[in-house]
Point group: C2
Chain length 192, copies 2
Amino acid sequence: MSLQHALLGVLEARPMNGYELTRFFDAAPRWVWSAPQSQIYPTLRQMEQAGLIEGQKEIRGTRLKRTVYSITEHGLEELRTWLGTGHTPAPVRDSFSLQALFFDMIDADRAASVLKAYIAEQEQLITEWRAHREALLAKDTDLLKERLKNRPPAEHDRIAGLKANVFAGQVAVAQARVDWARESLRLLAEGV
Amino acid sequence: MSLQHALLGVLEARPMNGYELTRFFDAAPRWVWSAPQSQIYPTLRQMEQAGLIEGQKEIRGTRLKRTVYSITEHGLEELRTWLGTGHTPAPVRDSFSLQALFFDMIDADRAASVLKAYIAEQEQLITEWRAHREALLAKDTDLLKERLKNRPPAEHDRIAGLKANVFAGQVAVAQARVDWARESLRLLAEGV
DNA sequence: ATCTTCATGTAAGCAGTTACATGATTAG
DNA sequence: CTAATCATGTAACTGCTTACATGAAGAT
């Protein structure tokens, strides 16, 4: 269900076609939700059928060039309802922690190299999210600029602050993971 | 793929039947991986076909009573290989952060109530994981006791320490989420 | 000319969810 | 005698992954 709400949230900023949305959800500087191209196009058609979004077909000559989707009143309503509802938590399914749970079964140095790769990966995420947070605070992202056009200027700081705060949270969680992984490296080393 | 490795990791401690495994993966005091009953039985049969585990059928009279699965040499090998390998990180897909990203679209008090529910939920997890960590440190969980029977006593402290540490990590991450959520509540309130 | 970017699609398959179904054994 | 626990199964469906496929437009 969440991909639909993610798409609604993005389209609330401005209308986009499938290609733009694909780049956004597939992008290397990671967001909070990702989705492959093959999932986005069918989902957009589903959402149009459900009346959540509306597709504007652009024709060039005789051929379809692209379909630009915009959020409908119904879509906005659905998004706001979803945002205001507490949802049942996703079941715990943490494949890295699962791996770490059985590190006692392998050599300490092999476990250490897995942990180091994990640290590198989390630090990469931290870098990307931190940059995104800064950009949001400076109101310097494409999407936020578009979004603020439909909002009273008095609220701009608050909106940017709230969104930046989400990425501060992502950074904090990833940092907790890195700290834990470093502590684990120490534990593994002393046990040898 | 991870469910199979989770099952292998559990069965390495001692042989179990589908029902026991179901209770373990479905259990309220949450672990690091969960799975419903309907997924466990077919997966066990798949794994037996692949030679990762071996089912011992217990017959009572003419009827099948239960099938107790134990890990095979091949299963142990597969588990160790998986444990020693760095796996490509799962795509970022955080439905709560997605929700929080658009809190500016709804009333601050509705957003606050969603955050409060999130805090309660994370604190519940913290309680469960903290208890599990303590139990592991005290070598006082059913599974750990079984597992240690096949390990040299000199390593018992180290093994328990490593496993407990994983749950310390879960707690730390959940705590980071709670701290972030509390900070967000403050941000929402001051913006009004 | 050829390579990249723009733009959209399909199809097979796996993992996980929800729900239904059956029957034996054990405890109160 | 009845309810809870033990024990195993299936079937439909949704969400996501991997991979293949096509073609126009713009850049070098």
